[in-house]
């Protein structure tokens, strides 16, 4: 079959590539239905990655958050029309210690390999997880992002000490919202405090126990463990504020991606005996846990609907560009493409 792949070839410029693929190979064929734009996609789209990276990775189809329908399964394991979430991380080896999303050999859709902006996506059969009926597709579109937070929360749980009276989440954007929501779900008895820059964004965190503007955090506020969900150069101020407000021996999970090196007050990291935990992407287990969690706690989907910003139907390359541009000017939430191309 000749598959159409909608690739970014230069900043703000998409072109169609045509790839000959064999239906009988050992993969499942998924027709994407809803795709969600991530900040990482925007860094490619706007050309804000450095020129060497742009030169190395393009042309490439963007998008690693998305759901679809099983269009064809040569093994007959999945029924045609089954709704699935697509897993962008594709390991090529197994390691008893290192998780699949940290193996340097793993491939990742939309980072060096084609993402989900295709007529049909061909995936190894363990790279799809079936969804349950009634799952709002606009929310399901960014299941991958939720799985990244699920991964980070689970990772910190395993690596941090057991006092969890107070969690702090720095960042009032999508990742901060999801992470804080998950913490209130996994640790309902813990106090979850959110630290952000914008009052009206912080008002969305109705489920949190406290919200603080970062320029007005009372001295006496302390947390046992913290999640940095800021990203960009803002990570620096966030991490250093966390170091100031975290109790000794606490753990700090870093989720925010930055193009720039971040300076950190390592003297206080040493003095307080802090643990800094890097967290990136997610693997199949995190996707399975995410879908199961949302099925067990359907009220989470209601909260996550607050993150659905713009939903655009995409029928042409022009629609793709228009949707990426709309996303750039959206101050809140996720931009979702209804994939009808």
């Amino acid at each position: 079959m000749i598959n159409q792949v909608y690739r970014l070839v230069a900043a703000r410029q998409f072109e169609i590539a045509y790839k000959g693929v064999d239906l009988r190979a050992d993969h499942v064929v998924v027709r994407p239905t809803y795709l969600s734009i991530c900040a990482a996609d925007q860094r490619y789209y706007t050309g804000s990655r450095n020129q060497e990276t742009m030169r190395q990775k393009l042309p490439m189809a963007l998008i690693h958050e998305g759901i679809g329908l099983i269009a064809y399964d040569p093994a007959g394991e999945y029924r045609t029309g089954t709704s699935v979430v697509m897993i962008p991380n594709q390991p090529v080896e197994h390691d008893a210690v290192i998780a699949e999303n940290y193996l340097r050999t793993s491939r990742f859709c939309s980072s060096g390999h084609d993402g989900f902006m295709q007529d049909y996506v061909f995936l190894p059969r363990d790279r799809v997880v079936p969804l349950f009926s009634g799952f709002d597709p606009h929310v399901a579109a960014f299941t991958e992002l939720v799985s990244v937070s699920v991964h980070a929360v689970g990772r910190l749980s395993r690596k941090s000490h057991s006092r969890r009276d107070v969690f702090g989440v720095w960042g009032d954007g999508n990742v901060g919202f999801i992470t804080a929501l998950l913490l209130k779900t996994y640790y309902p008895d813990s106090h979850v405090a959110v630290f952000g820059k914008t009052d009206w964004k912080l008002e969305n965190f109705s489920f949190a126990d406290a919200v603080y503007r970062v320029d007005a955090v009372p001295q006496q506020v302390h947390v046992d463990h913290a999640f940095e969900c800021v990203g960009g150069i803002g990570s620096q101020a966030a991490v250093n504020q966390i170091i100031d407000h975290i109790h000794p021996e606490g753990s700090i999970a870093l989720l925010g991606v930055s193009e720039y090196p971040i300076e950190m007050n390592t003297r206080m990291v040493l003095e307080k005996g802090l643990t800094v935990i890097g967290s990136s992407r997610s693997g199949r287990d995190d996707f399975v846990e995410t879908v199961d969690l949302l099925k067990r706690h359907p009220h989470l989907i209601d909260y996550l609907q607050r993150l659905v910003g713009v939903v655009n139907e995409v029928r042409s390359l022009h629609d793709i560009v228009a949707t990426f541009e709309v996303d750039l000017t959206s101050p809140w939430g996720k931009t979702v493409m209804k994939w009808a191309i």
Partner: protein, 237 residues
């Protein structure tokens, strides 16, 4: 029921000195007709997909489908007719005889040598055929179209903004297509080179689905080279 007819009944006189009809020539190491058929196999709305081929090539068609796709109960190879519309109507006859035809049944007909058709084009053909009963796929003309009755002197230059180039799929409510076809004289049937004209001749509207310029028809050696070149773009590292 939603049916597809892959029109592969041509004998390919324009492809030069090769013994295979053009639909069986290789593109990216697979027969063109297989690429096209696969586009319909991955579209989950089709109940049956008829591959219409010349009588002499039925065994060959079955062999290449088995070799490249395997067995799929939705796919059936059917003998085509003398010309394009004759082939379409043979497919319709096969549907009538084997499955019966209900009022809302539609057929999506598509050239076997247009393997670049997209999911959207097929989906919109199905939607429009279910709603309106007759659908053509077309792209706005980029070249000026000139009309000449004798091929030597221009008789008219139609307004380009009103000109479109027809592609496929073309899709129809089956009962509507049969009813209108039966009203045509034998002379009219012989003159028609396009299935949508069966409908438009009767004054019935045919709705247009936006095609794609890359939904090319591979009928000449030049087209095949273009198609191969299209598939050989730079891969990401």
């Amino acid at each position: 029921m939603i049916y597809a007819e892959i029109l592969a009944a041509g004998k390919g006189t324009r492809m030069g000195n090769v013994n295979l009809p053009k639909q069986f020539l290789s593109l990216q190491n697979r027969p063109i007709v297989v690429h096209t058929l696969e586009k319909f196999l991955v579209h989950d709305r089709f109940d049956k997909i008829l591959v219409m081929v010349p009588r002499d090539w039925m065994n060959h068609a079955q062999d290449v489908i088995r070799r490249h796709i395997g067995t799929d109960e939705r796919v059936v190879v059917v003998e085509g007719g003398e010309d394009r519309n004759g082939t379409i109507m043979r497919g319709v006859q096969y549907i009538e005889e084997n499955y019966g035809v209900r009022d809302d049944d539609i057929v999506v007909t598509h050239d076997s040598v247009r393997p670049f058709v997209t999911h959207r084009i097929i989906e919109e053909n199905i939607e429009y055929a279910l709603r309106f009963g007759a659908v053509d796929t077309a792209v706005p003309a980029t070249d000026t179209i000139i009309q000449s009755e004798d091929g030597r002197v221009i008789t008219d230059i139609p307004l380009r903004s009103e000109m479109f180039q027809g592609q496929t799929p073309q899709s129809f409510n089956i009962k509507k297509l049969v009813s209108l076809y039966q009203k045509l004289t034998n002379e009219q049937r012989r003159m028609l080179t396009d299935a949508c004209k069966i409908v438009s001749l009767s004054g019935e509207p045919v709705h247009i689905v936006r095609g794609e310029v890359f939904n090319i028809k591979i009928t000449t050696p030049y087209d095949l080279r273009v198609a191969e070149a299209m598939c050989e773009e730079k891969e990401p590292v």
